[in-house]
């Protein structure tokens, strides 16, 4: 019994930094759940990844101006991510280019610029910090930032939910009624960037997307409604955060990869044993046909 306690509760009871990390995971999970689910539903799973990379030069500029300061780096990252998202959206609306092609172009420019800036004005440790984050180093300031971002995105999601669902399912429907449908898409992109920035302090720009996408994609093997997908994805993201933290504490692993790998394990289990459309279901159906 004490062993179980030592493993599952002990680290959080004994160490304030672990408690903060756990609260950070809760905040990130609440924001990442809906963002990830809608990214999957809009067929933008990979675009989340490109946006995470485009945050980098902004964070680097913030770093150059005011050192390792979270507000400056977050603001810079937010502006850079937003610029890439909006310019890509604009280009794909004005030209015949597909949105993912525009995203790919602008994110590569942004990423290369970011790496150049970090390596000429910082050092490789800073670069590692931005790319991979450090959830165990989350302080009160960044915790507040994450909580604020989560609160804002949950409220905004509640406000745009109906329109976002309608627009994802049948884009021409709202355009016929209102003459525009782009507003929901733009608001959604802003939320994606916001949550990306909230996640990068804790998990780094690369890993933050993992906590968004893996639970959301895995959830589709279990449930089949938008609200239940969001609920399950959020729950899984938080559990992955918790388990990842315990593992990283016990085995002295870096916390970001431990959390994302836990989420990855959930995805793989869902892929094989999920209730809907999983490999197991396909296998069972085939044997059913044979008999």
């Amino acid at each position: 019994m004490t062993l179980v306690y030592d493993w599952l509760v002990g680290p959080f009871a004994d160490f304030a930094f672990m408690r903060r990390a756990l609260v950070a995971c809760l905040a990130l999970a609440l924001g990442s759940g809906p963002v990830g689910v809608f990214l999957v539903l809009r067929r933008m799973s990979l675009i989340g990844d490109t946006m995470a990379h485009s945050v980098l030069p902004g964070a680097a500029v913030g770093f150059m101006i005011s050192g390792l300061s979270l507000p400056a780096m977050s603001l810079g990252g937010f502006l850079a991510g937003l610029a890439v998202a909006l310019v890509s959206g604009l280009v794909s609306r004005l030209t015949a280019q597909k949105e993912d092609a525009s995203f790919a172009s602008f994110f590569m420019i942004s990423l290369a610029l970011g790496v150049l800036l970090v390596s000429t004005h910082g050092n490789s440790i800073d670069l590692m910090h931005v790319l991979f984050g450090s959830i165990l180093g989350v302080d009160d300031g960044s915790l507040l930032l994450m909580a604020a971002v989560t609160a804002v995105s949950l409220i905004v999601f509640a406000l745009i939910f109906r329109g976002l669902v309608a627009e994802c399912f049948d884009p021409t429907f709202l355009r016929t009624l209102k003459g525009q449908g782009g507003a929901y898409h733009t608001i959604f992109l802003v939320l994606v960037v916001l949550n990306m920035v909230a996640g990068f302090q804790a998990l780094g720009t690369l890993m933050a997307v993992g906590l968004m996408m893996l639970p959301a994609i895995g959830a589709r093997f279990w449930v089949g409604q938008v609200w239940s997908l969001i609920g399950l994805a959020t729950l899984v993201a938080f559990c992955a955060g918790y388990i990842g933290l315990v593992l990283s504490f016990r085995f002295d692993w870096p916390s970001g990869p431990a959390i994302v790998l836990t989420a990855g394990l959930f995805y793989l289990l869902s892929l094989f044993f999920g209730r809907r459309d999983s490999l197991l279901i396909h296998f069972l159906r085939r044997s059913h046909l044979r008999s």
Binding site: A96, T176, G224
Partner: protein
């Protein structure tokens, strides 16, 4: 005849290549019109323009007393994401959008309307099914139920019966006739001439330019159809030159 939509020298462009040339005429209030013509004749472009999704490159469309929410447009099937996790009832409830907007609740009366629409397309008991799990014909029935809930005065249908089974087509045609009886204005892009002759009193035959427009028997003559085909074969050579310019 009271015109609901008057087209004056309407020209629509796609990538700066004209898709519809100098189209003039009027859709009467309460009319039921089939838009026909060879592939690439600009039929879908015309419907998109009427739905407000495409701006005229030249000319005008004059709507008499119709606001944006009075128009319903059913695009060709591919426009919808069939894998989206949404229930049949929720798809139909989208038809209430102009009443409830993005925030207001859908009350009991509106709920009942949705269920009534569902049973009038013959899908009683399908409310909670996932839209993506339905057959192509059943999906089209659901979208017709959504049109019914939207209660629009102008209904635009782009090839509504393509790849749809005969029984569903028959049921949905009956709905179209019912809407016509209720005084709604309906414009449908169609391919099946027999269907047009039997169910659509008005026809508009086009091949980028207007070939004929009026009562269906006077439009669907062999001379007109031949002319339309000849015009369609002539395009490819110099499609980007506006020869019809006055």
């Amino acid at each position: 005849m009271q015109p609901m939509i008057a087209l004056q020298d309407l020209t629509l462009a796609y990538d700066r290549h004209p898709a519809v040339h100098h189209l003039s005429g009027a859709f009467a209030k309460g009319s039921l019109t089939a838009v026909i013509g060879p592939n690439g004749a600009g039929k879908s472009s015309l419907l998109q323009a009427l739905a407000g999704l495409k701006k005229p490159a030249e000319g005008k469309m004059l709507f008499d007393g119709i606001a944006r929410h009075d128009v319903s447009y059913l695009p060709q099937y591919q426009a919808i994401d069939e894998t989206f996790p949404i229930s049949v009832l929720d798809v139909i409830q989208m038809g209430h959008w102009h009443r409830v907007g993005p925030f207001r609740a859908i009350n009991k009366a509106l709920h009942q309307q949705s269920h009534a629409a569902l049973s009038s397309v013959g899908l009683d008991g399908f409310a909670d099914r996932a839209f993506g799990s339905l057959s192509v014909g059943q999906r089209q029935r659901v979208l017709f139920a959504r049109l019914m809930v939207a209660d629009s005065r102008l209904i635009l249908l782009d090839e509504p019966f393509t790849a749809i089974d005969t029984r569903t087509t028959k049921d949905l045609l009956r709905l179209v006739e019912r809407w016509h009886g209720e005084g709604r204005t309906i414009i449908a892009v169609l391919h099946d001439f027999e269907q047009v002759r039997r169910h659509f009193p008005q026809a508009l035959l086009m091949a980028r330019e207007l070939v004929a427009w009026g009562a269906t028997p006077t439009v669907l003559t062999s001379e007109n159809l031949l002319a339309a085909r000849a015009m369609s074969e002539a395009w490819d050579v110099d499609a980007d030159i506006c020869r019809g310019a006055a």
